[in-house]
Symmetry: C2
Subunit: 345 residues, 2 copies
């Protein structure tokens, strides 16, 4: 058996791969209550969350961002959606011999600016230079910490649910919860693909890559956040299905309410790609207790990257994720096999 | 300017590269007292140490180990030599499409066994699959924690030195200290290079890759450890020069006492490589207060991977690292430009 690109594309195939290769070998490996077996955005130890991501995006510099910003935000966002306050990242650079020093510096400056936005420090790193034709790969690890606002939020959740965790998991959704999307979907994946295919007609196509800590902090400070996830590889389709599976609930999304830019929709049509299935790099899917949902929405809208937030789904007893149209038609929102855009992050 | 392999080879060139590209951009970036600017084996936050390493070794499977064991030990050892008790690692896999699943599983099993040896858990990870011809790259991040034995050790150091840190730094050497090597040098680099050059005559050539926590734990429990470093890329030449520089002391190594296997010495001669300059992956350079040095030596020798440990150097006022022969000749031990063996870790 040989490994295929779908095994690393964030969808159903990758889940199977992780179960067969990683979980089979390491088991439910953990030092805190959230470990490898949870396949969540990160793992817990003491009062901290840790998360790791490798970044192999092509091209390295794209409209709206670059590999430096992407790799900082990648792990900052993973710890943010678990409710932790991001404090540091580490960075492993693997660089092709002959790579332009100026391009590397440009990516590092971009990484630094993204760290500054979230008040995160790069504290350690490693550099390898190889003859392989790779350009630049960047693996980052992020650490976030428990904080007061999170405790207050979890106390609210515990009023109606047995919730022994100190962080926010994918599995916290309960019937009655609302689903909030922090902004438009599909921006990162569709704009990367459009750039590769040279679909230049859509002038405002750009990646949404940004640190989401401003969004998650405001949501948590409001209280009543039951689950969060950043819909990266596999898009909101993969994220919502994982949340539905792990929480053992049904999610119904109101199709017309899911925010998407016209240019992204048009480009997705031309490319033949479902924008629900592609990576976002600056968005959050938020599960919110019904009575707190409107307040969370308002709080998220006040954050720098949350202006387009909407309530666009609801949670009920059952299973699977459904899309419902204005006229009442309903269809399954499946987890994709994998993200249809290769080398997206 | 283009990046060259020497920029990632662990010697003087890499130091310059890190200062120009990373420190210039990020400054002295830290959340604890040991941060990026220290260029130590890891960084501190709260009661923890964190460290990151990318692994691009060729071949992936070699005598004595493989990329799985190497990448687990890489960061386990970095946190161990700072005196921390390693508790967890995370792992970012970047895999070439078409890579044999069985080879990946074999590397993962090896990683798991190395983790088990040091009682470390793999808690989080990420997988990317690319079309680039890379085989397999593995970036790991390790976290270690403060523990009782470390506190006792540091109290001893503080009797004779102002030492505000909670972990063991490269800069802790003081005049009068002894230098202990936990075992033979050159094994990893020379055996990897011999394998590539098909020097099959040396049957017992094998990498020394192993977790050094057993060594560092026993040394620290004894007390009086002032500085530690694992001499990876650039070998003991780079490690000793960094310790000498950061501690602002002179180190004199007794050349004939530095342990080296006959086969490694012979292979190094044929290859024209100085075995002092190549990576070790299971060794520790230990700085020890004089009155504790013999006890530390005995403790290290009782550990699984420390049987060949010796006291082979001493620290005095001054600067630089010197090699002294039995008949009293003395010469400078320079920091190499970079590790003479490419793709060694």
């Amino acid at each position: 058996m040989r490994i295929s690109t779908k095994d690393g594309a964030g969808g159903r195939k990758m889940q199977e791969f992780l179960e067969e290769v990683i979980l089979d070998t390491f088991g439910d490996s953990s030092v805190g209550s959230i470990g490898l077996g949870n396949l969540d955005d990160g793992a817990s130890f003491g009062n901290y969350i840790i998360s790791t991501d490798g970044h192999t995006v092509k091209p390295l510099f794209f409209k709206g961002g670059d590999i430096g910003r992407l790799s900082a935000c990648g792990t900052i966002n993973d710890v943010s959606v678990m409710g932790a306050r991001p404090i540091l990242i580490t960075c492993s650079l693997i660089i092709q011999a002959g790579f332009e020093l100026e391009d590397l510096k440009r990516a590092m400056v971009s990484m630094k600016e993204s760290c500054d936005e979230a008040d995160v420090k790069l504290v350690a790193g490693d550099t390898k230079v190889v003859e392989d034709e790779i350009g630049l790969y960047v693996s980052t690890t992020g650490v976030g910490e428990y904080w007061d606002g999170l405790e207050t939020n979890l106390d609210i959740i515990r009023e109606t649910q047995d919730y022994p965790e100190n962080f926010i998991k994918d599995s916290g959704l309960a019937p009655g919860d609302k689903i909030i999307l922090s902004g438009t979907v599909g921006d990162h994946g569709i704009s990367i693909m459009s750039e590769r295919e040279e679909l230049n007609i859509f002038g405002d196509l750009a990646s949404d890559v940004c640190p989401v800590w401003g969004i998650t902090r405001r949501a948590i400070e409001t209280g009543g956040v039951s689950a969060m996830k950043d819909p990266t590889r596999g898009g909101i389709s993969a994220a919502l299905n994982e949340m539905s599976d792990k929480s053992a609930v049904k999610i119904t999304m109101f199709e017309e309410k899911i925010p998407v830019k016209n240019s992204i929709r048009a480009a997705a049509d031309i490319l033949g790609i479902n924008f629900h299935d592609v990576a976002n790099e600056g968005k959050v899917v938020i599960g919110a207790r019904e009575e707190y949902a409107e307040d969370i929405l308002e709080a998220v809208r006040r954050s720098k990257y949350g202006k387009d937030a909407v309530i666009c789904g609801e949670v009920s007893e059952g299973s699977k994720v459904f899309l419902r149209t204005k006229i009442g038609a309903r269809r399954l929102m499946n987890i994709p096999e994998g993200d249809p855009v290769p080398r997206v992050c």
